[in-house]
């Protein structure tokens, strides 16, 4: 890696990346990491798409179905009470994890996508009208673009976009210029899934709140790498997915400031979200049940809370220094590969190395790496506007989690040399 590049990314030389974090002990908790793929030991570098699950999560899910399953909030019987307690305890765990003021501010959803849609539908349709503006950034995942686009189409509001620079940082001055009385929502990603950029959420919230504009943060990629404190960030909504956090798929959560959630109309109607129903009139439940129509994903919620306990049990300090070291090592190792160009060199980065290699299409790279047992993601990563911004059709992305090692980075680098050899 060139000196200039090192300086740019604030990445010093790697001393001993794994000295006080027992990454191999952690790997033992993830049975899938012992797999062989195409005859080679699996190197799983597609964690931004979904993370693998530790035994603890698998066991908790299994225990739920073996010993605790019943519908919640209804029965007076033992199992129903047990399941209800487990489910509500999971909510408390998530509230603690995000440092929400109370568990009433945590709504279970199917994931980040549904969390954002909930806000766009419920808050958006009640508060945003023709002529208003919704502000997002140029590095959003499609799931933080399309719900707002749909809202704008229906209401006549306008979607405005904060541009990003060549490094993949938002251009803060442009953001400030775009803020106005017309802006009714700022929706922005905490950590970009295709660039790895960490956005300055606290600063963004401060500026938006000066105009009384609520801020929604897409935290899907952030929570497995950074300690998130919604009160410290000051944001109004924070959306997360369990499956990107070593938990099961199909479950996630929305944090919402209580005063906002309270004022918002229900998102879906059905059982569990009502106080009383007659054909003349229905009254709705209190928070957070108001937003949880129908029988929820109980096993998922319990699995998610187990994953959070597992993950936070390791300790953020250890985790962050290990992950930083692996990411730094990856930038260094890959910078030595001829004709490799990084996409996304933001000042603050985590979890992701995106790149293009010579004129070789990422799809070809992905297939060749796969033959070596290495799982990476290739394509536009559901961020087509980012690809357009950098004038490329796609990138190859290696994304890391707490269980990845520098040896795996070496395997990736070796694989990429193989790609170059094949295509030379």
């Amino acid at each position: 890696m060139s000196e200039a590049l090192l300086e740019k990314t604030k990445m010093g030389p790697v001393a001993c990346p794994i000295d006080f974090f027992d990454v191999y002990g952690v790997r033992d908790d993830f049975p899938i990491l012992r797999s062989r793929v195409r005859g080679k030991p699996l190197v799983y570098l597609d964690n931004a798409a979904t993370t693998q699950k530790p035994l603890q999560v698998v066991e908790a899910t299994r225990a739920y179905y073996e010993k605790q399953n019943a519908n919640i909030h209804r029965g007076v019987h033992y199992l129903s009470e047990l399941a209800t307690n487990k489910y509500e305890a999971a909510r408390e765990t998530i509230a603690g994890f995000l440092n929400a003021e109370s568990a009433r501010e945590i709504v279970f959803t199917s994931g980040t996508t549904e969390s954002i849609n909930l806000v766009a539908y419920s808050f958006g349709r009640a508060n945003i009208k023709a002529g208003d503006e919704v502000l997002i950034s140029a590095m959003e995942h499609h799931s933080n673009i399309v719900p707002w686009q749909m809202l704008c189409e229906q209401t006549g509001a306008k979607l405005r976009v904060i541009p990003i620079d060549d490094n993949g940082d938002i251009i803060f001055e442009e953001f400030e210029t775009l803020l106005s009385e017309k802006t009714k929502m700022v929706a922005i990603v905490h950590v970009s899934n295709s660039l790895g950029t960490i956005n300055p959420i606290k600063k963004i919230v401060e500026r938006a709140h000066a105009f009384d504009i609520p801020v929604l943060v897409d935290g899907a990629q952030a929570v497995s790498h950074l300690k998130v404190d919604v009160q410290e960030l000051g944001c109004d909504f924070y959306a997360i997915s369990s499956h990107k956090l070593f938990g099961p798929t199909g479950i996630g959560a929305l944090y919402g400031r209580e005063s906002l959630l309270d004022a918002m109309p229900p998102y879906q109607g059905g059982g569990d979200m009502i106080k009383s129903v007659s054909f003349e009139r229905t009254t709705y439940s209190e928070l957070p049940s108001k937003f949880e129509a129908g029988t929820p994903n109980m096993a998922g919620a319990i699995g998610m809370a187990t994953a959070i306990d597992y993950f936070t049990g390791i300790g953020y300090d250890k985790l962050e220094s290990h992950e930083d070291a692996v990411l730094r090592y990856a930038h260094e190792a890959l910078a030595d590969i001829p004709d490799l160009k990084f996409i996304g060199m933001a000042k603050a980065k985590t979890g992701v190395v995106s790149f293009v290699l010579s004129d070789i299409h990422p799809h070809d790279i992905g297939t060749i790496l796969d033959q070596n047992g290495i799982a990476v993601r290739t394509g536009h990563h559901c961020t087509q506007p980012v690809m357009e911004r950098f004038k490329i059709p796609a990138t190859t992305r290696a994304s890391f989690a707490l269980y990845n090692t520098v040896d795996e980075v070496d395997r990736l680098a070796e694989g990429l040399h193989g790609v170059l050899n094949l295509f030379k």
């Binding site: 990422p362 799809h363 070809d364 297939t367 060749i368 290739t378 394509g379 536009h380 059709p393 094949l422």
Partner: protein, 149 residues
């Protein structure tokens, strides 16, 4: 399998120096193919006169497999009648979707045989087929975008 079976020299050569990779000045029909999975985008334009493909060319961006497939396709259908071109398309389709263990008649498959390796890579079959479906759409005078998804 050996990656060399998928990325045969012929495919790599076509990828590097694709044939008929250009725009047509007077196309009689054209279509755009798009694979939303990987973002591959290809335009196929044809000049058809009296049911004969006088010229065919493609532009766009894609992986080595999709580009080589488009390149080989243009060399195979140029000068052929539309029904003949459609027959080649059927041959190609039969080849890439045939059973993995079915032997490939290299004589019959001719230049298409290099794509037999794609059968082992289900996620890549769409890459190989994109240009062909796009040509088919153009020939069907379907003006709308087609998609392999």
């Amino acid at each position: 399998m050996d990656l060399r079976e998928l990325y045969q020299q012929v495919i790599l050569d076509h990828n590097k120096n694709p044939k008929n990779f250009r725009s047509l000045e007077h196309p009689t029909c054209a279509s755009e193919g798009y694979n939303p999975l990987c973002g591959d985008r290809i335009n196929v334009a044809l000049e058809v006169e009296d049911d004969v493909i006088k010229d065919v060319a493609f532009t766009g961006s894609g992986c080595a497999i999709s580009k080589a497939s488009a390149s080989v396709m243009t060399t195979l259908v140029k000068g052929k009648s539309v029904p003949e071109a459609e027959e080649v398309f059927r041959q190609f389709q039969a080849l890439i979707t045939s059973d993995l263990n079915a032997p490939v008649d290299v004589q019959e498959a001719g230049k298409l045989a290099v794509f037999a390796g794609v059968r082992e890579f289900p996620t890549r079959v769409k890459c190989a087929a994109l240009a062909w479906h796009t040509m088919q759409a153009a020939l069907a005078e379907e003006d709308k975008k087609i998609s392999t998804e």
